[in-house]
Subunit: 291 residues, 6 copies
């Protein structure tokens, strides 16, 4: 082993969620007030708070070995880094964000092609330029310092803006006419650092444990007892996520079933399990899941 | 299946606890600011926030298929609805509330009969009138807009007021002389809607899962290992809530015991289990329990 | 059994943590505003809030049967009480506190002996006097009402102050030159009361359950499935804290392994378990642990 | 003088504003937690917190000598009390509230007459009934426990609801079609008590000082110096609220002008004063104003 | 001038009020987080936060030139310092505090003499000892680390405790049987430092301005116009605090009256002024008053 | 008059202070949640929240008639707008901000010239480029998305960053080696709009009143009485900010003096006034000052 893994933590809106995720994955990060060098309870790692927009720049330069940031800002930067894993926080509810092309609700624009010659405000300037170039549409792309949604129609003709549910766009009376790109958080690494065996193992451990913690948020454990006679009926009710663990009991007529379920199907599954003859049904919380 | 289940959520003091309970039961309700139509992550359900006092009215009229409210307000309304289940939040600590008849601490009143000709302030006017009528006592029942406890002796001679522990009445120097009615939350349904098979199954699933979440609040899981020789002693210590699951282990001299306990007996049971020879005793939290 | 166990809860900085710990151990303490007699859901116990500094005094006098306080204040008092157990809140992260002798960073003092004739400010006057007496160093020990760290060099030449990480001392430009005593919280009891069988069992039950709750904070449960062929490899990866429970399954080729791990080794162990062939690895939280 | 003035303070949404107003008028009221008998620093007065809806009832019965409440609830009660003064909090911005008849935005109802046979939800049942009776329109008026705005069209056909700006009605997609009554806070008194000279003077002093404090919120003091030659021009710019005080100065060529202005005209007046030759223009805040 | 004035600011319960008072007096003190050396916008002063109990010690030693603390702790210390001024924060409401001797409400103790041979708990040990010695009563005085009020009758027989209104003692069912000493905040100075002319002037300026700011809290300005004919009647209504300023106006029939009033008499005076013929009555707030 | 004045309010860190300043100047702006079009109580004005960095762009384009922003961002934009006034919030304490060139504390860089060939991180890219170009120093200027201060030496060699007191730079161990530009807030206007008489008068009124409110923050009123004999001594103590108003009194031996003082000299002036014979000295607060 040589040295430490220099790891970039995204400063700003993702910061608290990221630190909480690391906590669930097994690493405690202590952000001490105004310092940009939070401490971490792992002597192998040095953390630095970096804006998501700049993460790829400093990972590519090699100042950082790895970092977490949105794939949107990686693509925007045009730089060459490795993605060790995507981190779809809470996969089952699909929290991917989208950068969308939006126009005033009551405008006549229906497609990107209708915006020829007009002004587009966005924080994602390069991706937006490439998008319109690929369609051979000539527009003026203006960098927006924020509050992009409020700009049409006075300050811009259309915008390219990030959205999760579209509700904020709707509240500003905007209409989505296309998706420019989808994005989610990735754990990225410097190419050279990722060739170093020790650093690669460290990055991969992080990827494994972060995903284990993410999976635990959307899954629960389920235990129940069932008579041998009803076992097949009970098993047939369980989703085929992974095969349940079936334990033998002292009383040989009965078995215990222990399994992992997606949290959002439990409310449908439990009534069926009960109807199929299961007893002593218990749902319990999980900290980490590696299926 | 046809349509949706229109479900009333009690607005006001019960609102946050109800939304939290649904969350633990498997349904996420999103109360978005000032809207009275919270969204829910179940396409089969439409929610509406309704005051507990008015819930029975709108369920009876059929504007809602079902709703949660105190049985006190159902009785007060005098309307005809079905109760799918009571929901004794945290059964073991007995959180039923009581509507009591209370008089000034230092008054001479001892029974309802002593109040003939006097003024009673209450929010529960109809139930109170029926209570006194059943005793052939003639009183003047005045609707109270709140702060009922502070009214005797200046603004009323006695009150009928809801209480959980009686401490607020005591703080206002009032003395309870009778219980007018007991109440707890119920999941009520419109009679016609409850005849519809799809709606009934939906309501019953809600009832099952809400009760499973309530039970989990007052129970915990307990695992331990014990040698075959000590098994009987260990079992004898466990309350007879349900029979424990006894698993066979690789080491045939030992078995593993897994059981559900009421949370409030654990502090008594664990020392006894240890004395009886149990090892590796572990208590773990539960999300849902269906015994 | 006759009477109640009179139990002192430390008022002040430890109060909230202590009440939370009792809650996890199975006793709910309700601190009602400004009262010093919090209620508790155990009819056998009467609680009283007492400053940690005075706990030993009142336990020794017999006004209290037992109480929680730092061993530092017990020693300071010079009184004779029994320690039923130490309570090293979160053992694995070593939260023992130390009373240290600290001097200005840029002073020339290196040892206690260099302070002869000088002024020492501290809240722990008696222990400090004994410390210097044992070294035959003559100093003036002044009682400090607080803000001790800011006193050198203006208001005192050196201090004896409590510290967990030393960071506050460092921030005040002080340098530690010796440890005067280590301390942690103890459950202490009156000597006579601890001879009474009923009281002793009650105190010992408290000690057992409080330690079970403390242990649970630093441990987690881990379940996994593994083929018989890989069992030895999987077992070899597990720390030897206690022997894992290995259950037989319906599918005789496989076994289920259930064990307790220190929370801070999980991030290292899980990647190794996966590499050794474990599947369905699940970490779950614990409420209490009695190994 | 005989006894004390028993004064009702409105509990609920007006409570804090009322206590603040009394503070500015010269009486400090201390609402101590959950007590309904706040103390006041005037030995001649006893306060009681009473819901605005019940104030007229208890003032009319003589339990209270006087009280503050909205004139809407006085009219609703149908009881006979004296109004000592209206208290138009912040007169210049017209904070009178209105009870309006509102219907769904996209309904076809234009006048009260269009609602014949329909259901009206409101908290102001009696006033609403009289309103429709006076128009010979037959409707069903249902008491609403709150959240009235959300009821049309599902739970009611129209509502009578209080509003200041109409924005909440608009947010619920309702359209106002008539004003049922206007309301503002009044200081009301019991008829007999108001015949008692001492009580009447006390009530009138309260009225004077409360209005003085209200006026001060909307007014400011303005001082300036001006040469005799420019005095007429300066005076002509000042609104004719009351005549300004013109003081002679040591330097006989100049005078000082001191006057009271409505706060909302200052931004228009000061530029004109400067243009007219005023110097040393200073605006200062006021605590009380009796013109 | 030589050097700086080293000034102690009381840390703890008085800290915020003291810093606010200095702000109103014209000195801005910036307490930056955990530092005990707050900055101040006066190059002639260096501040230090010191516990009130220790202030006299360090002023007497000469480490500080001056400081603010309660005269109770000065007397307790037995040390020799100068009092530059008392600072009766808000004189008119008499906020002097009292150290009182209090016994259990239902005990038979009526006088200090009844406590012979008993235990007294207090934070003010020396003053208490002198008090009992002066009465030739022999008691055991125990230092109390806090929560003194809760100690009788279990932990002490009586207490000497500080109180402003007595309400906390009453809430703990204690009865006051004597006043041991009265106290208020003083600005104290080191004897030698107060002989130095520059330091004395600095301390006296502080005393003057702090008192000016305190006086402003309890006073207001009042302006009015009155005809010469009514002037005597108006003047007779004004309290004789200081003589009012009577200005001549352009209109020689009228005069303007400007005066300072205690805030708590305004509600009585204004109605009388109006009755006496005053017009344009205006109350305005004050920042500082030096009569 | 035609139309409205479209006014940009800076969104972000200056927003609350700006809205508060407008409130003191006489215009109430209501920022309603997430809307970017706050309402204002002046029918002649339409507000829009715009980032300070973009204000000049939209004022220059004519989308806005006027706006408040830092002169730094105006210069950075390189666009041509009119400055109606600077708004040195709280003049006396000099709150101008500076953009400074800062390097690591322990680096050897002393002048801009020492940075040839290195990387400079800043939010003010264009101004920084011009600064280095004017010195013929060739550097790489990188746009920084924030947290600029933490970048040297790892992520950049030096930075150009805004600072008020320099304390944040110091905390990050940076050393200032030059000032690149000073900045303060300006009220800027579109060139064409400022030629329109109605708009110009509106903008100038805003400038007058905003400055009047700013001046009031740093000034207070002072009134006192003095005998003719002592008048000259009293006048000589007053700073020559503007000449005091000296009023004749009924008692011809005395005069009243009324004047405006800078707040930070009051603590020095009042002791001198008292020594010179002034009595009834009163300091009162001001809302607006136009000298």
């Amino acid at each position: 082993m040589s040295g430490k893994l220099r790891l970039g933590i995204p400063k700003g809106s993702l910061q608290d969620a990221t630190i909480a995720l690391f906590g669930r994955a097994g690493w405690n990060i202590y952000a001490n007030g105004r310092s940009y060098f939070p401490s971490i309870d792992d002597d192998d790692i040095e953390c630095m708070l970096i804006r998501a927009q700049e993460m790829a720049r400093y990972v590519e330069h090699g100042v950082l070995d790895a970092g977490l940031t949105g794939i949107d800002w990686v693509v925007e930067s045009g730089l060459d880094v490795v993605s060790a894993t995507s981190l779809t926080y809470a996969k089952q509810s699909n929290r991917k964000v989208r950068w969308v092309l939006a126009v005033p609700e009551d405008s006549t624009y229906q497609r990107a092609e209708d915006l020829d010659g007009l002004t587009i405000a966005t924080e994602l300037v390069e991706v937006t330029k490439r998008y319109f170039a690929s369609k051979n549409v000539s527009v003026k792309v203006e960098f927006s310092w924020g509050a992009t949604e409020v700009k049409p129609p006075t300050l811009a003709d259309a915008i390219v803006e990030v959205t999760e549910t579209g509700s904020s766009l709707k509240a500003n009376r905007l209409r989505i006419i296309d998706t420019v790109m989808e994005s989610e958080t990735h754990l990225i690494a410097n190419k050279a650092a990722y060739q170093d065996q020790w650093k690669r193992e460290k990055v991969d451990s992080l990827a494994l444990m972060l995903n284990a913690a993410i999976a635990a948020q959307g899954h629960v454990g389920l235990m129940l007892n069932v008579q041998q006679a009803n076992l097949a009926a009970v098993i047939s009710v369980l989703p085929a996520l992974n095969s349940p663990t079936i334990s033998t009991l002292s009383n040989a007529d009965w078995v215990a079933v222990n399994t992992i379920l997606q949290e959002d199907v439990v409310r449908v599954v439990i009534p069926k399990l009960k109807a199929a003859g299961a007893t002593g049904i218990v749902e319990y919380p999980l900290n980490k899941v590696v299926l």
